[in-house]
Structures are given as structure tokens and as C-alpha cells.
Symmetry: C2
Amino acid sequence: MSTTKSDINFDDILDDIIYLLESNQLDFVRNIVADLHAADISDLMEHLNSENRSKLFNILPQDVASDVLPEVEDVLREDILEELDTSKIAKLVEEMESDDATDVINELPAEKASEVLDQVEDEYSEEIQELLHYPEDSAGGLMAKEYVAVNADCTVEQAIEELRRNHEEDEVEDIYTCYVIDDFDTLVGLVSLVNLVLAKPKALLRDIMDEEVFAIDSNVDQEEVAQIFEKYNLVSAPVVNSRHKLIGRITIDDVVDVINEETDEDLAKIAGIGEEEILEESVFKVARARLPWLIISFFGEIVSALIMDFYSMTITRMVTSALFIPVVMAMGGSTGQQSGIIVVRGLATGEISPRDLRRRLSREMRTALITGSVIAVLIFLIIALRWNDLRFAMVLATTLIIVIFNASVFGALIPFGLKKLNIDPALASGPFVATFNDVIGLLIYFTLLTTALQYGLI
Amino acid sequence: MSTTKSDINFDDILDDIIYLLESNQLDFVRNIVADLHAADISDLMEHLNSENRSKLFNILPQDVASDVLPEVEDVLREDILEELDTSKIAKLVEEMESDDATDVINELPAEKASEVLDQVEDEYSEEIQELLHYPEDSAGGLMAKEYVAVNADCTVEQAIEELRRNHEEDEVEDIYTCYVIDDFDTLVGLVSLVNLVLAKPKALLRDIMDEEVFAIDSNVDQEEVAQIFEKYNLVSAPVVNSRHKLIGRITIDDVVDVINEETDEDLAKIAGIGEEEILEESVFKVARARLPWLIISFFGEIVSALIMDFYSMTITRMVTSALFIPVVMAMGGSTGQQSGIIVVRGLATGEISPRDLRRRLSREMRTALITGSVIAVLIFLIIALRWNDLRFAMVLATTLIIVIFNASVFGALIPFGLKKLNIDPALASGPFVATFNDVIGLLIYFTLLTTALQYGLI
């Protein structure tokens, strides 16, 4: 019995496979791989270089290859697909579930995609073409056509027969529910598999079905689909069109992928990197995705430089002032991240809704007064003791309170604003807002300082 | 038929509920709430102030309250539990599934917990006490005792009878699998519910069971549990002890919670905030969680100030140098985040393994040379054109290449190092490493600058 990942001893297998692939002992590779789960093979492939990867993929039996392909990360799958001809892809696609098949077709160039579809059997090709109409990040883009639906007037016995037919034909294993429809394919209820097993064979589905169904409209965004699954602890959900006709089914494994994808996206925006960077092999592609963010930040800080240049007399008269530029920037930056990321995350999970703006801002402001005061006292003591300048200490302490207060308000406000404008709030945690906070912080610092110098206060 | 979240019009209901609670029209509240799903009620509670929240909770019928309580965020649940007496908690706990019941008991102070357990019926109390032994973040801490296990020598018919008994007794709805055990309770296989429905009634489980089971050891960390579920697209998994005896079951809804929890934790470390901040109401608690991170960053930048103080003659001789402190800091900081967060995320999802260190570092270094060169050219042009100082432009361009290269190496290296030391790599993306990069960056800048000045190069 195969058990947990740690039992498989992935590292040893990987080393063996690399050695065997490089020395072209492909029969040994076939033997090792025959005992592995498709997800493990896909894992191996992600740790191989591109040459070994295609060697390995090419020796997989067709039914295994069609299981492995949907598991591989998008970046690598595109590479693999590039090397395959259309008839091979068509054969693989025919063995996949319709949602995976659609994803593969979606990744092909238009011409190649239609060539592949021409070689897939007609009925299945039509299903895939239907699925291709939906945006990839909508409920329609997530759903598959493999589900069991039975008319409300059927008996439990008939439903089980339908289940058998479906199971044998599509080889769909992950069925947890039988959907109940009326004569017009409208979804009217569902019967869980447990209840189907335990019901009397002659009972009508109409009489035993659960009418409380979380049906999802095909246009709903995938992030909202994930929120619905999480909230109601769903394992699968029916998808309906605008006339409430049953058109597909979404399963939890695809939702888990969405959750991870959304987190990847948010983290990419926080870090200022490309969304599919983890397994990207071309450093030019990586650099091209990262540079825009660096350049935004770069020019923002050039603005900081210009502001300080304007106040350069202040720095000349008081060189000590330059020493605390990093403190001012770091306190603004860290506070902005603290109040910003929590709002970004809350908006993403639904735990914070746009209506919470005022409550959230008030909480951030009160928090900022506490943290700002503590930091102000610290800087006052340090300047007073180390640099022995009480008045400068006062100016810097005041600066930090204002900077922390400001950064914390902007940090929380900007994600709400972006959400309202239908822009991903996660952008607010990226270099853009951090740089903005730096500019504002330094402006406050040098304005206060210059004013204090002008009035002879320091 | 209730459908998606958007149909419920949450905002309107919330406004009504607040009005009715404040004006003590509790019968109306009861009517509204009667139509809602436990998860929706829990959502409402999260948007109420604490007074209204306990008012609402107290009018919920017992069976609804026991469904709502596990759905509420931890921070708020503790508040609610504080106000309830032990007999009420005991009644609620008895209606929960064993994993939720254990979570509730875990949140109570030791004395109150044992009082509650004394009032729970013996058999169930023993189950909960068994579950309490496992660390909360292990597979044992996630599992529940509600599952169906049948001896391998039983027939399909007998298994269905056992399913019926179990279903009626525990009212467990989410059963997808029948586990198969031998005479010593050792897990030997499973039969999916679909296959159970479609098998012949007189068939032996032994003959139709699937022997390939992803059994999870009770000691496995919850992060690894999530990785196993994600990788193998599981909906539920059996948990076994060290002698492979079946002791519990983990379901996907709890795993989704783990995934979100782990993301929350990572984001909290990146942002430098407390882990359960989103719904925390006390600004003192929020400030107390955030201050340590701010203070680390603060003292780091004080070190920057001391370094620059040491080089203050350089700033005096060349005030322009101070203007580019923000550029140096921002380029180091942004690059460090870019290379760091991607490694943190990859290590968390398993897409990057510790063995990828060299490949990852090499990729980061090559990327840094590209991005560093672009930024170096930009700063050279800007200084040359705006400040008209070619030699200073050379020094600053060199500084930025080194700083970007360094930050990108440290950014990727430190998470790997923490992982090796069994410390959460996410810490590497927090203020700690960012500050470290600032200090190193400024040290490089002023050392280069001072050397150049000493040798009369600028």
C-alpha cells in the first residue's frame, strides 16, 4: 500500500531517474515510473531539465500521459505541448476529463487547437468547444461536463442505473452527488450518494431530493466560486446558466487549484514579480516580469531624490538629518505593509467587505497612534542620548508619528479604493504604494525639518 | 432554491439585523435567521459588534448554534465561549462533529474544559479526549472520528447496513468512502461510495476494494497534509497510527481551512503582523503584535544611521550622496522581496524543494545581472544628465549592480537556510531581512563612495 509522500523517497527516485535518462536506459525508467501516481510523475518532471523532461514524457503509456499532463504546471505544459503533434495531443485529450481537455486546447495556438479538435470524436469535441466559450477564470471555465443528472420523476433504482452507465462510459470516479433536473434540464435539487444508497429503490428522486442547492452561475468569477466552496464546505457544485439550466459541475480539486492560483497572484503583486515565475526557466522572461516593478520603484525614489535636492540646504546645514532617512522610510514602509496586506488579504477571502472601510480605517488610525507613539519615544531617547540634540529629537519624533499615521491610513485606504475601481487590491501592496509612502514620508520629514530650521527652532 | 452568495444580498440583511437587534425585536431576527445557512449566520456575526453578536448567538436554536460555532473565526469564538456556561457548551459540543468539538474544548481554559467534558456523554467524551492528545497542527489534530470502516470479509450489503447505522447515529452527511480494515483494525483498503453502489450486494469488500490508499500518519504536519491532498486531488483521507491502525479521517473542508491558515501565517510574516489580525477588535492587541516587527526594523535602520554617521564626512563633502540613499534602499529592498517571496512560496507549496538551492541561486544571480545592469544604466543617465557628474554616476551605477546582486542572493538564500534550520522560511520575507538588506546596501554605497573620494576619483 502506498502511503504518504515521505514514504516514496522522492529525492532518491529523482536521482535514479536523472541518471537513467542521461544514460538512455529507458526500460528501467519505464519500470520505475509504472509504480508511480500521475502526480508523482508530474513532480519528477518539474525537477528535470527540458531535455530529460521530454524524454520521460515520451516513454509514458498514453493513459498515464493523459493523467500526467493536467498535473504539470502551465509553464512546463506549454513546452511539452509544443513538441507534440496534433494527432498525439488529440489522443491524450480524448482520455482527459472535459475541463482538463479544455485547458490543454486553450494553451495551444489557435490553428493547432482547431486541428486537434478536428481529430477528437465529434460528441466530445462539441463539449470542449462549449467549454471554450467561457472565460478561463469564470465558473464556466472551471466546470466539467462529467456529472450525473437524473429527472425528478425517476426512481432511485433508475438513478443508480444512470450512475452505472455514466461511470462505465466516462470512467468518472469522483461522483459524490446525483443532480436532479426537470423536463427542461432545469436544476431542481440534488441527492447525495449516501442518501441514494440508503433510500428505497422504488422511491422517487422528487421525494428524497434536497432542494437547497448551491448552484453557481456560469458567469461568477473563480475567486467568488472559491469563496462559496470555502464558506459552505462544498465538495462539488452544479453550474447553471442564466435560465437555471444545469450545464456543468465544479469539483473541489479545481477549487483548491484556484485558491492556490489566487494566492500566487496576490503574492506576485506583493513581491512585484511575474505570476508564473516559480518554474520559469528563462532568466530573460523572469527579468522582464520583474523590471517594470523595479523601474516604478526606481523612478519613485528619483522623485524622493529630487525632493531632497530641493531641500539640500537643510542637509548641508545639518548633515545628521541625512542619517535618519532610512528610519523614516522604513517606518512608513513597514506600517504601510502592515495595514495594507491585512486589507488585501481580507478583501480576497471575503472576511473584509467594502462596507467595512470606516471601521477598518478607524482601527488603523487608533493602532497607528499607539505604534507611532512608541516609535516616537524610542527615536527621541536615541537622538537625545546618542546625538545629544533635544530639538532635533522632537522634530524627528513628530515626523515619525505623522509618517506612521499617514502610511497606515494610505495602506488601508488604497486597497479599498482599488477594489471599488475593480482593480485587484493586491496591487496596493506592491512597490507602487511602498514607493508612494517613501516619497510622502521624506516630504513630511524635510518640510518639518526645513520649517524648524527657518524659524530657528533647531 | 438558495443559490450563490450574491443572491442572498448580505448587506441588506446585515443592516436589517443590526437595526432589529438594537431595537430588541428579537422575534423578527429569529425569523430572518431561520432561513439562513450556518455559514451565513457566522458571516453576519463577524460583522456585528460584540454586544449584538452575543444577542444574536443567544437566540439561535441549539442545533443551529452548534453548526454556527465551528464556522466563526477563532478570535470571535473565544469571546462567545467566554460568556457561555459549561452546561450550554457541553450541549453544543455534543451536537458537533468530533474535530470541531475538539477545537472548541481546546480553546477553553483547562478547568472549564474538563467541566464541559464531564457533562458530555461518556463515549463521546472519550473520543474527544483521544483527539485532544494530538498537536493541533498535525494530521491527528485535524482528523475526526466520524467515518465508516468495515471488515474486509464483509459483503457489500453488510457495508451498506453499517453505512446506514452510522449515518442515522451520527448524522454524518459527508461520507465519500468506506474504509476497509482487518480483524486488528489495520487499514487494508477502501471502497469509494460509487463503487459500493454499483457492486453486487453479495460481493466481499476484500474483492472489490482499492488497495492503493493514501493513508496519512497521525504525526504528519498539517502543511504536509494539505500538500498531499492538493497533489493527489483527495476529498478525504484515512489517518493511521504508527502500527497502521485506522484512527480517524480528514476531510477536504478542513484541509481548505489549513491552506488558508498557512497563507494567513505566511502573509502575516511578510507583513510583520499578528496571525489572527483580520477580525481582532482590540487595537492594543493589534499594536502589540505589530510593534516587535516595527522595532526590529527601527533598530536595523538605527544601525544604518550609525554606519552613515561613521561616514558623515563623505556626506558633508558631497551632499548629493544623501539624495540617493532612498534609491539604494529601494532597489535592494525590492530585489530582496522579489527573489525571497518566490522561494518562500515555492517552499510552502512544495514546488521548490531544498535540493533546488543551487539551481535557484544560479537563476537569481543571472536575473540580478540583467535587472541590475538595466537599473545601473538608468541611474548613470539620470545622474549624468540631471546632476552632470559622470564619476559619481559611475560609483552609483556600480553600487546598484552590487546591491541588487547581493539582495537577490540573500533574498533566495535566507529562506533555504531557515528551512534547513526548521524555522518558517516566511520569516525571511519579513522586516528582518529587508532591514538587513538596507544595512548591507548602505554599507556598500558609502564604502564605495568614501573610497572613491579618498583616492580622488570623484
